[in-house]
Amino acid sequence: MAEPGLLVALPLAACLAAVFLGRRGALLVWVTGPLMLVLTWQLARAIPVVEPLGGWAPPLGIALRADGFAAAFLVMTALVAAVVGAYAATYFAADPRPRRAAAFWPLFYAVWTAVNLILLGRDLFNLYVGLELLTLAGVAMVALDGRAATLAAALRYLLFALFGSVTFLIGAALLYGRYATLDMELLAVALAPDTATVAAAALISVGLLAKAAIFPFHAWLPPAHAGAPAPASALLSALVVKASVLILFRLWFDVLPPLAGALLNALMGGLGAMAVLYGSVQAIRQDRLKPIVAYSTVAQLGYLLLAFPLAGAALGAQPWSAGAWTGAVFHALSHGLAKAAMFLAAGTIMLAAGTDRLDRLGGVAKAVPVASFAFVIAAVSLMGLPPSGGFLAKYLLLTYAFAAQQAGWAAVMVVGGLLAAVYLARPVNALMRAAPAEGARFARVPAVLQLAPLLLALAAMLLGILSFEPYRLIQVNNPAAAHEGLQ
């Protein structure tokens, strides 16, 4: 049953069905959620798996390939999407604007389809299709509310994303002109470090960085993610931006290691460090819940790029051979779970309090205790405190930084952790304040809206405790550059 194609086809079919079902599309998630969880789980146990679509092997046809990296993110995506779907079904049920609810479901499945396609695809054009689908669905999700501010945010997102699409496409065209194939495995074999290839690599990378909102292309993210409805924000922050970073990882660690070197590592590490510091400082300056969580995404994505300078460091000094790369993967997985949990919790808190201004949140912990608790647990993982997947990720990245005597990157991570504690302590303090603000009245919310974020937050925590199986999973067929580094 472990067929990668099914993991793309099923959400795609659900997407088409949702177009016709309208608001009743909400019901689909009770089937697709469990089904996708089972299918991804089976795939994770069967990897490595290769499926040439229609029986045609590359370069004639295209193939879907699942290795440990893909399988880990497929499972995480299925978990996040299933829980967000259950949350959204309740969240939109009471929505006074039926058109917004009806529009959400096709977009929801489009995102799911696109992410799975990106994780399984090994053909640059395939990935481009996935990215475009992801972008268009993402932009539409931001615009769901239809307020002037969110429309402006969606437009800005669209501009950045289209810029990214254009550079990605030009880069891919250059590669096709040079090598007559877009299959990543074939490209890796044929790769030569000439001008056309370097230019293509640079263009594609810039495009991906823009779509992933990596500093200095981050400006579109905070208003877009903060303005979307809570379930949409959760998908956007946990999955959509991350998909672009994952392609970046695939590209450099699987295909382009011969082009890499100290310059690339310093550049990527530098961008990552700037993202961590800038995003955190901006998060501290916000005084509403959702913008804080959105800026936190800008900061957290930065950690992933630190894997570029740190991978391959300290060969032999540690018992794990691909520690920094593994650390980054753990970071991406736990951030996906924790950030989705946090946006869902923020959505529940907003529903209860009617606002997300920090100075109006006093007493809210009493109105929605479980959601508040989920917010705190997710915050623990994002700060990189134990016990959580975030902590384990940081532990790996930090030990490698010290083993490689690159204490500068370690300093970025430690300072980033402290800044995260500062920007997350503010909302947590606001929730803990016992005295309600003047005239504050709290609405009752359904239990699902409190339990869904808790489930994801606990998953982020468990990733740091039951980490042995995830660790083994992501080592399956991992790229050589993850061990040796991009030197």
Binding site: P319, F391, T399, G417, N429, R433
Partner: protein, 488 residues
Amino acid sequence: MNAWLPVLTLLTSLVPALVIFRIPEDRRTPRAVVNLAGAGAKLALVALMLAGVARGEVYETRLVLMPELYLLLRVDALCLLFLTLSAFLWLLTTVYAMGYFGHAPNQSRFFGFFSLCVAATTGVALSGTLITFFIFYEFLTLSTWPLVTHKGDEKSISAGRTYLAYTLGGSALLLVGMVWLEGLTGPIEFAVRDQLLEVEPATLTAIFALLVAGLGVKAALVPLHGWLPAAMVAPAPVSALLHAVAVVKAGAFGIIRVVYDVYGFDLVQALGVGLPLMAVASVTILYGSMRALFQIDLKKRLAYSTVSQVSYIVLGAALAGPAATVGGLVHLVHQGVMKITMFFCAGALAERMGITRVDQLDGAGRAMPLTMGAFSVAALGMIGVPPLAGFVSKWQLGLGALQAGETWVIFVLAGSSVLNAAYFLPLVYRAWFLPPAAEAEPGREAVAMLVWPAVVTAAAVLLMGLFAGFALSPLSWAELIVARVYGG
């Protein structure tokens, strides 16, 4: 069975915590039953393991995180010293807290986090690897914070902010120290010797400073102690927890682990890091006592006294000789029991007679003889009057200082004892020998649940001193630990 004991011990606090969170606010009896069942089960398990470890058994459980990186729960003699203390005091503090809060709101949240805190402390005691220790140590930070801010008013939130700022700063230092060290050596297990041989001495010294500074925040070493006096706005049971059962103890215990098990006596001596640590501990002992002298607020005076007293433990570790080690270890227990007595009493005084300041204590002994009697025993113990528990600690430390050839430490101990007397004796004097202020209403003892825990701990202060030579006394157990460390 042996592999399950450490896990079960952890669960005796963790499961009650999770259950209590779900108990509705007004169901006081089920909450009390769950709480006391957990505390009782923990004491039983501890007794079982004490017998086993005395026979030479070791209990271990491990959970593999990644190849060669594992969480290890390991019961050895040192672990049990801390575990017994926290299990015993947890039971008493739970009883006390039930009496203290009566029908106050948010009790399920309070007792939930309280049990979570004890679970974290248990984990700290049980940790067999550096990363396990760090995980529980941080878990302790996080689970204590809701207790410090329990009242939810601006003052508590602000104290909580101070607490987090200090402790998270400390954990950042500890984290850097840990990952730096493990980046060079791979994961560190406490029971494995000679893991640091290949690391350069200068690096080891820097890492030692980072680790001790990180742990020193919770152990309230000067100048990292600021959070402790600020946190006294928390309710009395929380103060008891911070000062005696969990938080400062976890810091001191961590320093002992670093000195004995990560570095080892020989390496500490070879690197010459013992003397600076001794100096910091001595300064803390004297500075804390000095500040205590000038506090009018009763709980603040007790808080500064803790700053001073906990560094006796650190001093014992830094002196790194057999007798001094025994002194430091035994003081871990003695200080906990003495200080919790005083906080129990301070809470009872505040609840019953509204006494929060030193000058309100006049005549309190007549109104509340049991409470003030317990308080006086603990105060005399702190000063080091024989035959109370504090005397045993100071005697051992003094002996250790002579053994290590650091005669000046004797003067630190003597000076501190004089200061202890100077800030505690006036309290005892006021309570028993001065007449109550004219406008004070005649009080009487608080409810039994606030009084008897203090009486029990005060009795323990007396017994631990009188029967120090008895086979199951903290002193004998500390001697057993040291004998095993020295391989004799």
